[in-house]
Symmetry: C2
Subunit: 718 residues, 2 copies
Amino acid sequence: MGDQNLSRLVSPRSVAVLGASDNPQSIGGRAVRNLLEFSAYAGGVYLVNPAREIVAGRRSWPDIESLPEIPDLVVVAVPAAAAVAALERCGQLGVRFAVLFTSGFGEGGGEGREYADRLLKIVESTGMRILGPNCPGLCNINQRIGFTFSPSFRNDLSAGPVGLATQGGGLGRNIMQSMDRGVGIGLWASTGNELDLQVADFIHYMAGKEDIRVIVALLEGIKDGPRFMRAARYAARIGKPVVAFKLGHSDYGRRAAQSHTASLTGSADINSAVFRQLGVVEVDDIDELIDTAWLLSRGLPNQMKPKIAVYCSSGGTAALAADAIGLAGIELAQFSAPTSEILGCNLPAYAAIANPVDTTTAVLKDMSIIDRTLIAVCNDPEVSLVLYPMALDYGDVTEATVRSIIKVNSESRVPIIPVWMSDRQGPGYQLLAASGLPPIRSIGKAVKAIKRWIDYGSWQKEGKREFMPKMLSAPEFVIEDAPSVMGEFQAKRWLRHSGIEIPRCEIAASPEAAISIASKLGYPVVAKVVGEDILHKSDVGGVRLGLASDCDLENAWNEIHANVQSSLPETHIDGILIEAMAPSGGLEMLIGLSRDPVMGLIITCGLGGVYVEVFKDVSRRMLPVDYEQASAMLKELRCYPLLTGMRGQPRRDIAALCHLLVKVSDFAVEHLNSLSEMDLNPVWVGREGQGAYPLDAVIVGWGLDARAAPLACRDGEN
Amino acid sequence: MGDQNLSRLVSPRSVAVLGASDNPQSIGGRAVRNLLEFSAYAGGVYLVNPAREIVAGRRSWPDIESLPEIPDLVVVAVPAAAAVAALERCGQLGVRFAVLFTSGFGEGGGEGREYADRLLKIVESTGMRILGPNCPGLCNINQRIGFTFSPSFRNDLSAGPVGLATQGGGLGRNIMQSMDRGVGIGLWASTGNELDLQVADFIHYMAGKEDIRVIVALLEGIKDGPRFMRAARYAARIGKPVVAFKLGHSDYGRRAAQSHTASLTGSADINSAVFRQLGVVEVDDIDELIDTAWLLSRGLPNQMKPKIAVYCSSGGTAALAADAIGLAGIELAQFSAPTSEILGCNLPAYAAIANPVDTTTAVLKDMSIIDRTLIAVCNDPEVSLVLYPMALDYGDVTEATVRSIIKVNSESRVPIIPVWMSDRQGPGYQLLAASGLPPIRSIGKAVKAIKRWIDYGSWQKEGKREFMPKMLSAPEFVIEDAPSVMGEFQAKRWLRHSGIEIPRCEIAASPEAAISIASKLGYPVVAKVVGEDILHKSDVGGVRLGLASDCDLENAWNEIHANVQSSLPETHIDGILIEAMAPSGGLEMLIGLSRDPVMGLIITCGLGGVYVEVFKDVSRRMLPVDYEQASAMLKELRCYPLLTGMRGQPRRDIAALCHLLVKVSDFAVEHLNSLSEMDLNPVWVGREGQGAYPLDAVIVGWGLDARAAPLACRDGEN
C-alpha cells in the first residue's frame, strides 16, 4: 500500500457513478449534478442505476459489468451492503479507485465491521484503493472536477496553490469557505473513516504535484504513524511545506475525535515533537491553517532571521502590531537612510516614520502618499515582509487604500500581508479577496502566521539537518501483552552491560554485607530498598542518602526496613542496594523513553528530580539521535542556562550528557521491540569533566526477564 | 479632580461648537453635521464662527461670550492657539466641559507643550474638565448624540449595554464596528492625549450608569495608576465588569505606544497582576475585548465551577470544541437522564448524544430536531452555557438553524453562544447580528471568552475578598533622584531591626575575627565578601558555603580575597560576612519588592535561587498583603507542590513563609517612600516548624544611608 500515485483518482480518464439518481436531494443525485453541471470534467462519465434507463438525460447502465470500458474510478452512492458487493466486482474487473460516500462501516459496530473487513480484503487482493467510507469525497478544484455529493461544491470553486486533506467533511468545508476571503484551494480530499487511503497518502501525493505549493492537513487522529512520517519526510525532501492541525490536546478532544472517526490519538506533546522534527508546521486552531498556509504559499525566501516592517495609518494600530511582534520574538527592520528620507519627505511631521510606520490619517486626503511610501518600505534592504493592518473600514477611502496595497504588492520584491481587523467587510475587503490577497482577520493571528513562516525557514536551514537516516521510532508491531517492569538494580545492570555508565553498586542481604560493600565503594554511600513490588522507593521511605559511616549505614538499614514494612506490610524486601554517592552539587536532569501508540518510541530529556512534574521542561525526538541532535535537544530546554552556567553556577558536563543521550538512543534502537518505557531520573550531571550518569532507572517492556537473567547480581562483581 | 460626574459632558443640556463650518470635509463641518443630522440631540446647540452669520442654516454666533446662555459643553474644532484662548474664556464663564479635537499639544514638543500647560491651568483654576486634546471625541449612542468629527459616526449607531473607553481613535472605531456583528455599544469616549480626563475617569463614570452593563477599556498606557485603581475598585464594588486590553507587552509595543500618545507603560507582568487583583478582565488581543464583554453583558449567574455544553451538527467541530474546552481546563457538563433521553429519541442512532452533542447532518432534513433537542440541552440542570459552533455556511439551511438558535435562546435559562467559523457570512450570519446574538469568530476565541467569564466569576466569589482595605502601593510622589543600593549586611540588619528574622551573622575584618565569630555561631558557616561596589558576590567568587572548620574558614578567607581582587582589582573589600549556615535540604524561594512607575510598589514571591531566571515562576500583589493573601500568592505558583510536598519531598513551613511575606509587606508599607526595590533571594524555607528566612538581601531606595546608620555593625552585637 505504499503506492502514492493517486493521479487516476484525482483525475481519472473515466468514472462510473453507482447509485446515480435524478432526485436532487439524494446523495446520488447530488453527486451526478456536481459532476455533470458544476464540473468541467472531460473524461467519460457512466451513470449506473439498474432501476432507470435514463438519468440526468443520459443513458443509465444496469451495472458495472455492462459498461463499455473499465473506468479508472467508481463513485459509490449506494447503501453499505450493495456498495460492498459492487466494489468486490469492481475490484475483480480492475477498477483502480473508489470514492465511497456511504456511512455504516463500523462507526456503529455490528455488520458494519464485517463490511469494512470485506472492503479491506478488496484493497489487499485487487489493489483497488478506496477513499472513505463515510466521507463527502474529493474536489479537484484546479481542474474543476467534483466527485462529491456536497451541495456546497458549486460555491467553492476558487482554484489555487493550497492542497487540503482532512478526515471530516464539516471542518474541511469550513476551510474551503476561506475561498470567500480570497484563498485558492486546488484539491481537497476528505478521507472519512480512512479504511484505506489516509490523509498521509494525500500529503504524499500532493507533495509531488506542481500545482500544489503548500499542503494543509487537518487530522482528528493519525491511523498509521509510520505512513504519516514517510509522507511528511517526502514532502520535506521536496521542500513543500505541510501545515497541520491535529485534534487531541485534551482528554475531551481525544474522546470526541475517537467517537467521530474512530481515530487513535497519541500524546499531543509527542505528536508536536514529531511534527517539529519533520518540519510539519503545527497550528493551534483551524483558522490558523489557512493564515499560515497562504503565507507559505507566497514563496517567501528562507532567511535565518527575517525582519519585518509594519505600515498603517493609525498610531494605536501601529503600537498594537509592534507589541504583538515584540512579544512573539520577531524583529522589526531598521530602515536604511534612503527609506527614512522618502518617508520623511512624503509624510507629515507628526507621522511615525520609523518602523512601525504610522502615516496618520494624512493619507485620507492624498492617497498617492501610500503608493510612494509603501513601496519605499517594501524596497528597504532589511525588510523581508510588510504587515499592513487596517483597523477600521472607512468605505471608499479604505477601498482606495486597498487598491494601493494591491498595486504596490504587485511591484514589490517582498510580500505585503494585509490584516482586516474590522467586523465591517466593505468593498475594500471584497477587493482584497478578489485580488488574491486574502486578509488575515487579526493582528494576533497574522503575527502567529509570520512566526510560523520564520520558524519554518529556520527548520529548513537547521532542523532539516537533524533528519533521521532511518525511521526507527515507529511501532513495527501490535502489542497485545501487558509489559512488565524492571526495577532499579536489574535495569542499571542491563544499562551497564550495554555500555552506559552507572554509579558502582551492589545488593546487600544483611547489614554486615552492606558495610562490607560500602567499604569497597568508599563512603559516602546511598542505600535504596530493592523489591519487586516497590516502584516508588522514595514514597515509602526506602531511600537514604549521604551515609558517611558504618553507623549511618546500619541506622539506614533499620530505618528503611521499618519504613517499607509500615507502608507496604505485605511486600517482600529483596535486599538493600548500596551505591557510591554522586558528588554533591550535581544538576539533576532526566532521560526517558516512551512508546506512543501512533508515533512509536520517543526519547525525552529534561530537567529532572522533582522539577519535571512542576515545570515539564522537556524536549523530545524520534529515534535515533546522534550527538548533534542530542545537543539540539538540550538547547531547546528552558533550563539550558543551568547547563551552560549562570549567576555563579558552574558549567556542566554537557558533552557527557549528550553522549549519554546518544547511548540511550542506541540502547533503545537495539531493543526497539522490547521497550515500552524507560525512566532515568535523576541523571546526575557534574561539572565539566565530571561526567553524567543515571542515579535511578526503571525499564518497562516485554520479555525483560529473559534479558535480565544473565545479568543477575553475582557477589563481588563490581 | 476626583469628581467623576461626567453627566453634563455625556448628556449636556446645551452645547456650543467652536469652529462650526459648512465645509463638509473640515473637522468643524463634520462635527456640526454629526450633531445636527445624525444625532437625536434635544438640547440647545450654538454654532460659533466669527466669520459667518449662518452655518448649516442656523444662526452663527461670533464668540462664546455672546451666547444667550452658558453651555454645559463646548466642542472645539479650531487650531491650537485659538482653542487655548477660547477655552480660557470658557473656563472663566463657567463652562463645565470641553471636547478638544485639535492636535498639536505637546505630542511634538515646542509651543504645543506651552499650550498644554495653559490648558492644565484652566482645569485647575476653573474646574472645567477637558476631553482630549488629539481625540475624535465622544459618542453617546444610547441617546444618539455625537460630539465627534468622525465620518463613521453615522454608521455606528447600535445602542447597547457595552461602555467603551479608549485612548486612540482608530482602535476605538475598530471596536465600534463590531456593531456589524450585532454588538451594541452605549457610549464611547476617546481620551486622546489624556491631558485631563483619562480612560479611568470614564470607567468610574460608566460604573455608575444603569444603561452600561460591561465596561471595555483599551489602554496604550496608564497615566495615573492610583486613579485607574480607584476607578477599577469602584466598578468592582458596584459589580460591573471591566474588560481591558493594555498595550506594552514588549519593548517594541512600549516604544510605539509612547510615541503615539506619550503614555508611560510600566511592566506588563505587574500590570496584569494588578488587573487580576482588582478583578479587571484582561484580554490578549483587541478582538477578544468584545467577545468577552458581550458574554459578560449577558448577565450570567456567577458559579464557582460552571459546566458547559457543546451542541453542533458536525463531528469534527464537536471534537474541535471539546478539545479546546479541555485544554482550557473548563468542564463539560454531564447530561442528566432526561436530557439524554430526549436527545436519544430525537437524534439518529449514529449521532453523538453525550456532551459534546453532534446531531449529524440529520438536522438538515428536519430542522425541528434542533428546537426539540437544543432546549433540552439548555434545560439540563448541570449546564450553565451552551456553545454552538457552526463550521460552515450552508446558506438557507444555516439561516434556518440560526432561527432555531434565536428561538431557543429566547426561551432558555442559560445563554447560547454561537460561533460562526466560516469566512462565508451569508444570511444566517446577518440574522444573528440583527438579533443581538453576535457570533464569535472562532472556537478558540469563544473558549477564551468563556474561560474569562469563569475566571471573573471565581474572582467575584474569592478574589474580591482579597481586596485591599487601603490603597498603598500607588506611587505618591515623583521620584527625581537616582536611588542608592544597600548591600547584604546593612539590609539584613535593617530587616532584623524591623522584626524580620535573618540568620545570625557578623562582619569579620581579619581571619582571626572570622574564626572567633564562627566559634560563636557554630560550624558550618558561610563566608561572603562585603564591599560597597560588590553587588553580585557569587559572580566574583565572593561566597563560600558549608565551611566546617577553622581551617576551611581560613582557606575561604584567602580564596575570596584572591577571587575578588582578580575580578575587581579596583574594589575595596570592607570585610567578610560570617553567617550561620542554613540546614541543608531547604527549598529556595524568593520575596521581592519592585516599584512600577505606574502601579507603585508591588510585592513578588516565587521559586528562588537560579530557577527564578529560568522559569520566572512568581506571583505578585499590590501592598499590603495579609496572611490570607500571602497564602493565595503561594497557591498561584506552579511550584506550589514543592511547598506542600510531593514525590517523597517533605512538606515545607508554608505558615512561616506566609508570615514572612506579611512582615515584608508591613516593612514595605512602613518605608513606602524610601523603597525602590528589594530582593530577598534565596529565602530559605525549611520543613514544617523549621521556619523561613532570607539568606541574602539587597535593598534599593532613597535616603537609605540615614536609615542604615544607627544599625551599623557593632562588634559582638549578635
